[in-house]
């Protein structure tokens, strides 16, 4: 058999997708040493999440397992792994890139969908109630400044964020 151009496999297609996303650029540098897993506070208390496994599955092209599973949502975003990775894989940011792909394909945990709605509706992910706002003067706090909700909506419409969230709301 003559050596030829290797067939483009699913694994390459998925790692290329991750590399093309903001935050995902460094995933292919991983050589599976496991420094991340041994630094991970979540991996210490559950078998449901292991950063090395998430990266391995992604590099092997197991897209469905990665983006439909709950592992990527169990990263506590502490960045210990990223600080210690000898290959300078930006693991915390790779997880964000994987979450972004999952979100785009409709795999959206409810709590994240709520955060996305909150920022679009109020300009904040945690709402300041009128009750709390009205108590400020008595506590000796200055009035709250207005939120730049119009500018925020323009920005989130330019990036397509508002449509990502709408897709979720329309899904039964």
């Amino acid at each position: 058999m003559k050596p030829g151009k290797p067939e483009k496999t699913t694994s390459l297609a998925f790692s290329n997708l991750v590399v093309s996303r903001l935050g995902g650029e460094t995933i292919t540098l991983c050589y599976q040493c496991g420094t991340c897993a041994s630094s991970c506070p979540v991996a210490k208390i559950t078998e449901r999440f292991n950063p090395r496994e998430v990266i391995k599955l992604s590099l092997l092209g197991e897209k469905d397992e990665v983006i439909s599973g709950d592992a990527i949502w169990l990263c506590c975003s502490c960045y210990n792994c990223q600080e210690r990775c000898p290959q300078k894989v930006e693991i915390g940011d790779v997880i964000y890139a994987l979450r972004n792909i999952a979100f785009k394909e409709g795999y959206i945990p409810d709590v994240y969908s709520k955060f996305a709605s909150a920022i679009l509706n109020d300009g904040r992910i945690v709402q300041v109630s009128k009750f709390v706002e009205n108590k400020r003067p008595a506590l000796g706090l200055p009035p709250l400044q207005p939120t730049g909700i119009d500018a925020l909506r323009k920005i989130l419409s330019a990036t397509g964020f508002d449509k990502l969230q709408k897709k979720k709301e329309e899904t039964p």
Binding site: C78, R124, L141, A151, I155, F161
Partner: protein, 291 residues
């Protein structure tokens, strides 16, 4: 007098008046002016980053633009806000292509990120603008006899390449700030480990396991209280104790204080002015110990 634009964020005005009061009063007393700018928004922290990283960078950059227009550096009170804004600021200053991309988005809102300002978390402002020596001179009520467990929270320190607050594995800023108030900073096991805060809402169970470990370790070290730099760590450890009690039947009764509250007390600000009653775990024994 040094002036900063205050980035207040969401959680502090929504839920933690004692944090806001203590920070405003203590910084004012030290000669730091905080300016409240109009039209700021959410900083676009991890929950927003999880949806779309590019959107969160653009939202963070928009808020930095407001400070650039006001010709002020930004100061944050929340690790989440600090991380989002400092990360975006560093990334956009360093990467011209990314900056151009984000500026195309910002132009829809009539803004342009220039990269002329700094984003600082308030411990860094205390160290750089006031200094430990002057801070000590301003302490009128030293917190002697108080053993404090310093807890940075992840996003004060990491990713360190972008945040640059302190060494991510061996930090000392917070310990130094605690000792400057006359208190003793106590070491405890797994000090730099996550509080689990960001897992709350997705997996409350795992989040609580991490908070519980922190409570057990600080208790074992003999700390009188934990000092935090972040409203989310505060929630995980303060309200977290109520949840740990109902789930595991363990009572820690460990007061959790924002570092700014300890600072305000040491500067002689009346505890009655600080709305400390909003803490779930009562702070009375701390107040009694220092008065």
């Amino acid at each position: 007098m040094t002036s900063y634009a205050l980035f207040l964020g969401c959680t502090i005005p929504a839920r933690q008046p004692s944090y806001e009061l203590s920070a405003r009063k203590a910084l004012a007393k030290l000669g730091i002016e905080l300016v409240d700018l109009a039209n700021m928004t959410c900083c676009a922290p991890p929950p927003v980053r999880s949806v779309d990283l590019e959107s969160s960078l653009a939202v963070a950059a928009y808020n930095i633009c407001l400070a650039e227009e006001a010709d002020l550096n930004l100061v944050t009170l929340c690790n989440g806000c600090f991380e989002s804004l400092a990360m975006a600021n560093a990334m956009l200053k360093a990467d011209r292509k990314l900056r151009a991309k984000i500026n195309r988005i910002l132009s829809r809102a009539g803004k342009e990120f220039v990269g002329s300002k700094e984003v600082k978390h308030y411990p860094r402002v205390l160290i750089n603008d006031i200094g430990l020596k002057r801070l000590k001179q301003n302490v009128s009520k030293p917190l002697s006899n108080l053993k404090v467990a310093a807890f940075y929270g992840c996003h004060a320190l990491r990713p360190s390449a972008l945040l640059k607050l302190d060494d991510p594995e061996r930090p000392h800023v917070l310990e130094n700030l605690i000792e400057a108030l006359g208190a003793k900073s106590v070491e405890y096991r797994n000090k730099l480990k996550c509080c689990g805060g960001l897992l709350r809402g997705y997996s409350d169970e795992l989040a609580l396991d991490l908070a519980r470990e922190k409570l057990a370790n600080t208790t074992k070290a003999g700390a009188d209280c934990i000092a935090t730099l972040c409203p989310f760590c505060f929630v995980a450890l303060d309200i977290g104790q109520i949840q740990v009690k109902s789930k595991f039947n363990e009572t820690y009764d460990m007061p959790v204080l924002h570092y700014s509250e300890l600072l305000a007390l040491a500067l002689g600000i009346d505890p009655k002015e600080l709305a400390l009653e909003t803490h779930k775990i009562k702070t009375d024994k701390i107040i009694n110990k220092i008065s």
